[in-house]
Amino acid sequence: MNNVFVYCEMEGNRVADVSLELLTKGRKLASQLGCQLEAICAGTGLDGVEKQVLPFGVDRVHVFDAPGLFPYTSLPHTSILVNLFKAEQPQICLMGATVIGRDLGPRVSSALTSGLTADCTQLEIGSHEDKKAGKTYENLLYQIRPAFGGNIVATIVNPEHRPQMATVREGVMKKEILDENYQGEVIRQDVAKFVPETDYVVKVIDRHVEKAKHNLKGAPIVVAGGYGMGSREGFDMLFELAKELHAEVGASRAAVDAGYCDHDRQIGQTGVTVHPKLYIACGISGQIQHIAGMQDAGIIISVNSDPNAPINTIADYVINGTVEEVIPKMIKYYKKNSK
């Protein structure tokens, strides 16, 4: 009872990376709270799935294995979580801020009237004083996220309602195996007891999933462009620089919204989080939502014509100049000196 739960998203019979990252974070939170970590795997053909999750320090894994649970549809997975949580009374539930997590989380929170915070960038345990009610709450989950177009960072708490639910994007938390031989209990649940037949009303009739076209998430060098690139053609220059440096190209939300770059290359709170050794920010002003997705970069170079761009304050090198002028020079001098 009152444990930390992580909903594990299944890609076929493989647990998604984002879920393993959340198990790692969930383990730390559970240890801090002195409770157990529990995982939920729901899908089809999940024999042996526990081997993927137990090494992350999972004390109990609930396996829901039945036809109709993969591909994911909203209602059956909602019923699983709602009915399981009514019995188990978790204090915290974490899930990926993926298409699935953002479809499922609100539905579950609505059924249980519990609070849910989307796209958290940090999770911590702390106390909260409600001065009006004269009450102090211990060991609450601080759900920390940039908000309001990235102009503020908000810490959200759910003092009275359980579970405290949060979604987190892939790549925000680190994935770390605790112990290859960690021993946990495996509970094979009877799906029919959780999911009424009437839940299987939405049918997936066609599905195409492609492997990602790029590896932005794992790239050691990222060349990213912002609104200051001015156009799609401006981004061509970044692709040229990236090709020379064996880097991947990323973009700020402003650049994606303006149509300069495809959505799947967006870096930031609502895009991809990157941890490269070198990050070259070109024409990016540096809203907090963007910073949230790249602040762990080893070395940051900012190319910006505005000396007061916020990103310059976290950059190791600031190049004062226009992107049109500086980037061709970077390409030119890289070619000249690298051979």
Binding site: P71, A118, N151, I156, V157, S338
Partner: protein, 295 residues
């Protein structure tokens, strides 16, 4: 076949053009300093609804929004583009709502509307980016949902087929009516205002807007128009009008509380500033090559 479609729309501060005066000294948002706009993805949702109306004549499109009196603007905008009518949920008791309390209020209003086949809204609003209200409304109404919709392909025999985006791909799914859908910003953009409809509805006003115009005892301009043409009166609903439970609305109905708000101040690193001159750019490249950061 005619469909009853409800479009969920939100008036949002335009967070894409935030200036220096956007934040008050106490860390709260200075909404007055920001332009209020129709949430972009809700416009994509409106377009999907209007397309259904084009395909299935006799269908009706109702815009439902929640907000202060000035949010009647959202209803007018919907009418200009082809919606049939609208409701503005407005009450002090709705203030301070998180996504759960918002979905409670919208769900009670949808029950009050009574007849619906499709409830459609944008995937998320740009002031919160949570994407929670659509699914939470669906759960409160006990309806199935499809999120991240790109296109509605067909409605036939009480079932709807839609194309949706999933991580790394696309899915075609089919479900029964009534259903809740949320639409992506990459879906078809909304048609522009229709000049005839703008003429027809330009004097449409909500109760609070009328009160603001007449507050110093001034007569309401074109007062008799509102009796002759009832469609110019934008309907406002309070908590009582939708038979809502005040405890589940607004701040008191919100499980999430904001503990702390921080304005963004970046910790300055020790950084090296260089000019864009040839010599300085070359020096930097040579330095990065020398310490194996690149190359």
């Amino acid at each position: 076949m005619s469909l009853k479609i409800v479009v969920l729309a939100k008036q949002v501060p335009d967070t894409r053009c935030v200036g220096k005066d956007a934040m008050n000294a106490d860390g709260t948002i200075n909404r007055a300093a920001l332009p209020a706009i129709f949430n972009p993805e809700d416009l994509n949702a409106l377009e999907q609804a209007l397309r259904l109306k084009d395909t299935y004549p006799g269908s009706t499109v109702t815009v439902l929004t929640m907000g202060p009196g000035r949010a009647a603007e959202i209803i007018r905008e919907g009418l200009y583009r082809g919606a049939d009518n609208g409701y503005l949920l407005t009450d002090r008791a709705f203030a301070g709502a998180d996504t759960l309390a918002t979905s409670y209020a919208l769900a009670t209003a949808i029950r009050k509307i009574g007849e619906y086949d499709i409830i459609v809204g944008g995937r998320q609003a740009i002031d919160g980016d949570t994407a929670q209200v659509g699914p939470q409304v669906a759960e409160k109404l006990g309806l199935p949902q499809v999120t991240y919709v790109e296109e509605i392909e067909e409605v036939k025999d009480g079932r709807i087929r839609v194309k949706r985006h999933i991580d790394g791909g696309v899915e075609t799914v089919e479900g029964p009516l009534p259903i809740v859908l949320t639409v992506n910003g990459s879906a078809a953009p909304c048609r522009p205002r229709n000049a005839k409809l703008v003429q027809k509805y330009k004097r449409a006003l909500g109760g609070q807007e009328k009160a603001a115009l007449t507050k110093d005892g001034a007569p309401l301009p074109y007062a008799d128009l509102y009796e002759q043409r009832p469609y110019l009166n934008i309907v406002e609903w309070s908590v009582a009008d939708v038979e809502g439970d005040v405890k589940q609305c607004g701040l008191s109905g919100s499980p999430t509380k904001v503990k702390k708000i921080e304005n963004i101040i970046f910790q300055a690193k020790e950084s090296k500033t260089i000019s864009g001159s040839d010599a300085e750019v070359e020096n930097l490249i040579v330095e990065l090559l020398a310490n194996h950061t690149i190359g």
